[in-house]
């Protein structure tokens, strides 16, 4: 079980954002991607999901060795990709319940029937686990939700859909300490050899609750450094400047840096 991103170049509206990104995630692994704002972290997650605004210039995305770049968004989802979005979309009029039910049903085999009682119990359990409150099922999808509620709702969906590879894009922003702990527990609980996790964040605090196996630092559209937990502390204390300095990355003129030392894992 692998998700592999190979020398990926991605643009949006003619701006090149990802500039030769490499990443390989195996089942059971948790990877953290850290990096300053605007560096292309969300772009990476969105292009893997198939967001219509982003364009692949070159490179490939492989799921279990098979390229998915020609697959539609819904196909990718049904193949097991999941993205907890940085800014979950509000869909007025569509209830959470109908939405999650449709998402679960669409994954079932043609001759399979949704057992509605069981589904309701599972939904209510997930809703309680994430402290979403009583009326969640009948509230409209993300409409009028607080920032934190939207994030927790993404994790609820993840629990209901059991993805194989999940990107969690700044799932920590907008969460207070208690909510962060709750989300951390709920995600950690789902860790298994059948789930590869990619956590996108620029704070250390999320990684106190969901412990990563690998930490990548992303700057200017590519991963420039890979390490383990010790990297988190370093960044938390000193920011990204030392990385740029160490690697001779110049922010001002975004010239390509010629370092052969960006260790690509695996």
């Amino acid at each position: 079980m692998t998700l592999e991103i190979k020398d990926l170049y991605v643009s949006i509206e003619d701006n090149l954002i990802l500039k030769g990104l490499n990443l390989k995630v195996n089942g059971g692994e948790t990877h953290a991607i850290m990096g300053p704002n605007g560096t292309g972290k969300s772009t990476l997650a969105q292009i893997c999901m198939g967001h219509p605004s982003y364009k692949i210039e070159s490179g490939d995305i492989l799921l279990d060795g098979e390229s998915i770049v020609e697959k539609t968004v819904d196909e990718r989802s049904r193949m097991g990709l999941f993205l907890a979005m940085q800014n979950p979309i509000e869909v007025p009029g569509v209830t959470n319940f109908d939405f999650v039910k449709a998402a679960v049903q669409t994954r079932m085999a043609k001759d399979e029937h949704l057992r509605i009682g069981r589904f309701i119990l599972k939904f209510e359990k997930a809703s309680q686990d994430l402290k979403m409150g009583q009326g969640l099922a009948h509230r409209f999808l993300n409409q009028g939700f607080s920032g934190g509620e939207k994030k927790r709702n993404e994790i609820l969906q993840m629990k209901m859909l059991n993805p194989r590879f999940a990107f969690l894009d700044e799932i920590d922003s907008g969460l207070d300490v208690d909510a962060l702990k709750l989300v951390g527990e709920n995600v950690t609980e789902q860790k298994s050899p059948n789930l590869g996790l990619i956590l996108i964040t620029h704070y250390q605090r999320l990684l106190d609750y969901i412990v990563p196996d690998f930490v990548h630092i992303m700057i200017n559209g590519k991963i420039v450094m890979t390490g383990k937990e010790e990297l988190i502390k370093h960044i938390d204390q000193e920011g990204y400047d030392w990385v740029k300095k160490d690697l001779g990355i110049d922010d001002e003129d975004k010239k390509p840096y010629s370092l052969g030392t960006c260790p690509s894992k695996h």
């Binding site: 539609t72 989802s77 049904r78």
Partner: protein, 303 residues
């Protein structure tokens, strides 16, 4: 007569067609006047009844009733309904004008509201053919209020010409119009929505909102909102949002595995449900839901 099945045995039904009037509800009828004496809920069904070109409906003072006006025509027709809503009366009218095949219809709904009267008008439009609908509300009594909700799901390449007018002829009168418009194919929806506050009618409020989704490349939705305000001390607003389906909403649903068809119909259902939920009668709501889903399914399946 071919009364739709779910209404046939309804004790609150009055049905008209060429041959006969079936008056289960025992409504008092004199010429073309219907007088509602007691009772809460009535169903008026018209099927090719062309004896009257006008029908007058009188709602007495302090009365509180709901009327479901359902027509099911196979021929072209033209009719005007005059509702006289007396002081302190509360009236809710649901309309659904249906056609068996493509026909032409011209329908006028005129309401006059007395002091403290309240009108809630729910117009469902899934008509097949070409329909001109005009609704005119005269708020003639102080504190008279109206709320108008309209859901138009255009299909079968039909044409809808709708003219809605509310006149604020007294002080402290309120109106709120919400139109939900969907064109599923190359059907045309043309709306003129007018709110008028006459000089001196202070403390009045006049609001309208028009939302539209065009599902096909040749869909047409045109709305002309008009606010004619001749008084300073009032509130008035109009909003319009008409366009294709929101691409980000679609992407979000797709990213959870829903097919394009599933996602689109869920978004449209989200759009039509608030209207359907306002219908008190479950059977009427159910009928409308299935009419709409037939139109939507036709569309989303084609892709």
């Amino acid at each position: 007569m071919e009364i739709v099945k779910y209404l046939v045995n309804n004790p609150n039904l009055i049905a008209f067609d060429n041959q006969e009037i079936i008056n289960n509800a025992k409504i008092f009828i004199k010429n073309n006047h219907l007088l509602f004496r007691s009772g809460k809920e009535f169903f008026i069904f018209l099927d090719n009844y062309d004896k009257y070109s006008e029908l007058n409906l009188d709602i007495k003072e302090n009365q509180n009733i709901k009327i479901y006006l359902i027509t099911y025509q196979s021929r072209n027709f033209k009719i005007k309904y005059n509702f006289n809503v007396s002081s302190n009366a509360k009236l809710e009218v649901f309309t659904n004008f249906l056609s068996k095949r493509k026909t032409t219809a011209s329908i006028a709904l005129d309401f006059t509201l007395g002091e403290n009267a309240y009108l809630k008008l729910l117009n469902a439009l899934t008509f097949k053919g070409r329909i001109e609908l005009s609704s005119l509300v005269n708020l003639n009594g102080k504190n008279a209020k109206t709320e108008i909700e309209l859901l138009n799901v255009g299909g079968n390449d039909s044409e809808y010409f709708v003219n809605q007018t509310v006149n604020h002829n007294e002080i402290a009168t309120l109106s709120d119009i919400n139109n939900w418009l969907i064109s599923t194919d190359n059907s045309k929806l043309k709306y003129t929505v007018t709110g008028k506050i006459v000089k001196g009618m202070e403390h009045s409020k006049c609001h309208q909102s028009n939302k539209g989704i065009m599902l096909a490349s040749d869909s047409e939705i045109m709305v002309e909102p008009k606010l004619l305000i001749d008084e300073y001390d009032v509130e008035a607003s109009h909003g319009a949002a008409i366009g294709q389906m929101d691409e980000l909403q679609l992407y979000y649903l797709l990213s959870r595995g829903l097919s394009v068809q599933e996602a689109k119909s869920l978004i449209i259902t989200g759009y039509t449900n608030p209207f359907i939920n306002m219908i008190n009668n479950q059977e009427v709501a159910k009928q409308l839901t299935s009419q709409i889903s037939r139109l939507i399914r036709r569309k989303t399946n084609n892709e």
